[in-house]
């Protein structure tokens, strides 16, 4: 990690295109790599165990083939793509797999993943659906079960100090990610949405210390930019789930807008919330992953008497970010077969309507082919919001 600053974006590009390159190198050096799906896996615990966490991503350019021989096509297309790449061996450097109870497409396919990949280690983290105190207590117990299990695999008792150190590193990473978002506040932004998506995606493929180092160099490089690579254009927020390929963001930007903020999993949903550094580290992790990550798979009890009050409680982060980043319009980008997000589409739209924020809802199938077909609708939306 000693590249000159000018090389850093090339390095990001290489890590993005050859996703998993560094994890493979680390595996070859004798490290154990633990793959995981979704933002709900506390990677801090994997790091604290002395293992290398590696977030699996899909590939919208790779047709799903082998995966379909073991996994139904009615699963979320993002999960299908991740599974397909995994059974084709793209991530064959991984020693283990962690799947959280994020949604049916993950929970109901855990066995399929486990036996299809035949990895030495696997674990399912049962994330509760509600935020009551009993749910938090349960989740803490479940995280301690994971802590013991992964510790057994690593041959290490994971101490509170190990966890505190990992939490510190991950919080640093989130600070740096947030600093990258600051570069989007100018008009036009100093960083494109496509660039940021690549950086954030790559960040989740690296050991956290290396991710921090990468982000530092990227920040240094970007802060020296004299001119934005972008023109002034409508400022767009993308709201949705896990967008880990830049094709959609690039399409939006190529269609005449600047993506300036998001509420995506590889975005503010996961990169912004910190873990509390006071008190018991497992308590703090439970609180972050269950409550602070605002994912629709977690039920939040109704607040107030009206729908509007409840919507403000559930989606207020969207409204705050839209103000903070002076957003002109929101694209609600949802994958087909995604029940957690799909059932919120009318509510999210209604909330944005109440803010008088133009919104375009797009349902997609996690494929480069289908993404391309969205261009006309996106362009029409930009014409509408001027």
């Amino acid at each position: 990690m000693n590249e000159q600053n000018s090389d850093i974006l090339s390095k990001v590009e290489r890590y993005y295109q050859e996703y998993g390159l560094r994890a493979r190198e680390l595996k070859n050096e004798g490290n154990k790599v633990i793959a995981y799906l979704c933002s709900l896996v506390p990677a801090e615990i994997i790091t604290a165990a002395g293992l290398v966490p590696f977030r699996i991503r899909g590939d919208v350019h790779e047709p799903i083939t082998k995966g379909d021989t073991n996994l139904e096509t009615i699963a979320c297309p993002f999960v299908r793509s991740c599974f397909d790449l995994s059974v084709k061996g793209r991530y064959d450097f991984c020693d283990g797999l962690i799947i959280p109870h994020a949604c049916d497409s993950m929970a109901r396919t855990y066995s399929t993943w486990k036996y299809s990949l035949g990895l030495p280690y696997s674990h399912f983290i049962n994330v509760p659906h509600t935020l009551r105190q009993s749910s938090m207590e349960f989740f803490k117990a479940e995280l301690n079960t994971f802590r013991k299990s992964v510790g057994r695999y690593a041959g290490k008792d994971i101490s509170d100090d190990d966890l505190a150190e990992a939490i510190h590193l991950y919080n640093e990473n989130r600070d740096k990610a947030k600093a990258l978002y600051e570069l989007r506040k100018s008009d036009p932004p100093l960083i494109t949405g496509t660039e940021l998506s690549k950086i954030l995606t790559v960040g989740m493929s690296l050991p956290i210390a290396e991710s921090n180092e990468l982000f530092d160099v990227v920040l240094e490089e970007l802060r020296q930019r004299k001119e934005s690579p972008l023109q002034k254009a409508p400022r767009i927020m993308v709201d949705g789930a896990c967008v880990d390929n830049v094709d959609f963001i690039k399409l939006v930007e190529d269609s005449g807008a600047n993506v300036v903020v998001d509420t995506l999993c590889i975005g503010t949903r996961d990169y912004w919330p910190h873990t509390d550094v006071r008190g018991d580290p497992v308590d703090a992790l439970a609180h972050r992953y269950l409550d602070k990550i605002n994912c629709p798979r977690t039920y939040r009890e109704k607040v107030g008497d009206t729908f509007q009050e409840d919507a403000e409680s559930r989606f207020g982060d969207i409204g705050s970010l839209s103000k903070e980043f002076r957003v002109d319009g929101v694209i609600l980008y949802i994958y087909k077969y995604c029940d957690p997000f799909g059932f919120e589409v009318p509510a999210r739209k209604a909330y944005l309507d109440s803010l008088k924020m133009p919104v375009l809802y797009l349902e997609d199938e996690y494929s480069a082919g289908t993404i391309g077909r969205l261009r006309t609708r996106i362009q029409a939306f930009f014409e509408m919001i001027g």
């Binding site: 696997s122 049962n126 659906h129 009993s134 109704k302 059932f343 009318p346 209604a350």
Partner: protein
């Protein structure tokens, strides 16, 4: 009977048992009963089946409105499309759970009109006083549906009951985690009691709850015993009928009416067995319905199987796994704890068996047990496009089964402890459609696939005989 003559509706399906044929009127009466209960001022709760809270609701005199049931009724009557379209027009994707879409379309329409939508099937679905969501480890829609409905009914409160169970792991035993799972489930169910007390203004009668849990467990055991009668050859009842007789199992647990139904079914099956009267007399193929909810609008497909000499003596869908006394429920006088242990035991029953067969998995063990116990010749599953909950993992389970039931002769140890050669090939079929979205269904294509499957069964049978 004007409703029965509406367009698109088909004549009544032929059932093998009297009990199954009595279900339609029972469901109709149940739905009408919720509307009457509303008029009488009783408290109504939108509820989901298999949530371990049946007896709690009954003990509190809250009337459950089974929303999945009503969507199923709309589907069976081939009258779901207008509600699905309405949900789609509100912004819900048609790829989502169609039970939920049907319910949301109906609810939004009812709220907009201030009365039931026109010609609502069987009088319509009554407006609830509360909604009981279910944050289980399975089924995202059960966690999101009522929250989405609250957009149209903001005055109706929700209690979301978390009911987790541990997934099967190689390095973790259920006993390792049971304490905190049970603690959590118990707290969630006690929270439900507090919620219901607040909504109804009355206190829980704990003795009554204990009695209803007793009744629920007695019914559970009776159902298991009754369904086991279907091992008989010829089998007296098939899965087509079981898709009717599931109604008291999942909508009436903890009621005397539910228990009495199975007393009657038990008697009827025993009488049919004594008379050697089967679904069909000359059973050529005994099939396992190995996964998936049925297409409620196409239950006649089961009759079509029967017409080809195939019967389904067993299914994994809507079935008590084993009697309560086999679920290792610790002694306790606390009815809530009993419900919690019942829940955990229900979901983890096959874990020990899976541990004994490396590479296996509980769902596969369940299939193997039924294949052996019911002398099964083939497995049929249904993949409903809109439901990930029950329809993911089916392909993989069949692939695992193929490792055991191979299309080659294998050497096995017989009961007399002598080695013998057996051909245990087990053909399988996955039908593809939906639970209630009829636009996903083609009768011609489905029956062509069934025909081809029957030909495979014939071929395998001939091969076994050589």
């Amino acid at each position: 009977m004007a409703e029965e003559q509406k367009k698109g509706e088909r004549k009544k399906r032929r059932t093998a048992t009297e009990a199954a044929s009595s279900i339609g009127p029972m469901v109709k009466e149940s739905i009408g009963g919720t509307i009457r209960a509303k008029q009488e001022g009783k408290k109504l709760a939108y509820s989901f089946i298999v949530c371990s809270y049946d007896e709690i609701i009954r003990a509190m005199d809250v009337v459950p409105v089974w929303t999945e049931n009503y969507a199923g009724v709309c589907g069976a009557k081939r009258d779901a499309e207008r509600f699905l379209e309405r949900a789609e027009s509100l912004g819900f994707s048609r790829s989502l759970c169609t039970y939920a879409l049907c319910g949301l379309g109906f609810d939004q329409w009812r709220e907009e009109l201030g009365e039931m939508p026109p010609d609502a099937p069987w009088g319509g679905q009554a407006r609830p006083d509360m909604m009981l969501s279910s944050g289980q480890i399975l089924c995202d829609p059960r966690n999101k549906w009522y929250q989405a409905a609250q957009q149209y009914m903001p005055d109706v409160p929700i209690y979301d009951v978390a009911l987790p169970y541990p997934l099967y792991e190689d390095d973790i035993e259920v006993a390792d985690v049971a304490d905190y799972y049970i603690k959590y489930i118990v707290e969630e169910l006690r929270g439900l009691v507090i919620f219901l007390e607040k909504q109804t203004g009355k206190k829980m009668d704990w003795d009554r709850l204990s009695e209803l849990v007793d009744l629920g467990e007695k019914t559970w055991n009776l159902i298991w015993e009754t369904y086991e009668l279907r091992r008989a050859v010829p089998t007296p009842m098939g899965t087509g009928d079981a898709m009717n007789t599931m109604v008291p199992m999942v909508f009436m647990l903890g009621t005397q009416e539910g228990y009495d139904f199975y007393v009657g079914l038990n008697k009827e099956l025993k009488e049919k067995i004594a008379r050697k009267e089967g679904v069909i007399q000359d059973e050529k193929y005994r099939l396992l319905w190995g996964g998936g909810l049925p297409s409620w609008f196409a239950l006649t497909d089961f009759n079509y199987f029967n017409s080809k000499g195939a019967v389904f003596p067993v299914e994994t869908t809507y079935r008590m796994i084993e009697p309560i006394y086999k679920l290792n429920i610790p002694e306790t006088n606390d009815p809530i704890e009993r419900l919690a242990w019942r829940w955990l035991g229900y979901w983890t029953y096959w874990y020990d068996k899976a541990k004994k067969r490396p590479g296996s998995e509980p769902d596969v063990e369940r299939l193997i047990q039924y294949i052996e116990d019911y002398k099964i010749d083939g497995v049929v599953m249904h993949e409903a496009f809109s439901c990930r909950t029950w329809h993911l993992g089916l392909i993989w389970q069949l692939n695992q089964l193929k490792k055991i039931y191979k299309p080659i002769p294998i050497l096995i140890l017989g009961k007399d402890e002598k080695k013998k050669v057996e051909k245990r090939e087990l053909p399988s079929l996955i039908l593809e459609s939906d639970i209630i979205d009829i636009s996903s269904y083609s009768e011609v294509d489905t029956r062509n696939r069934i025909d081809a499957f029957i030909e495979t069964l014939e071929s395998v049978a001939k091969n076994k005989g050589t």
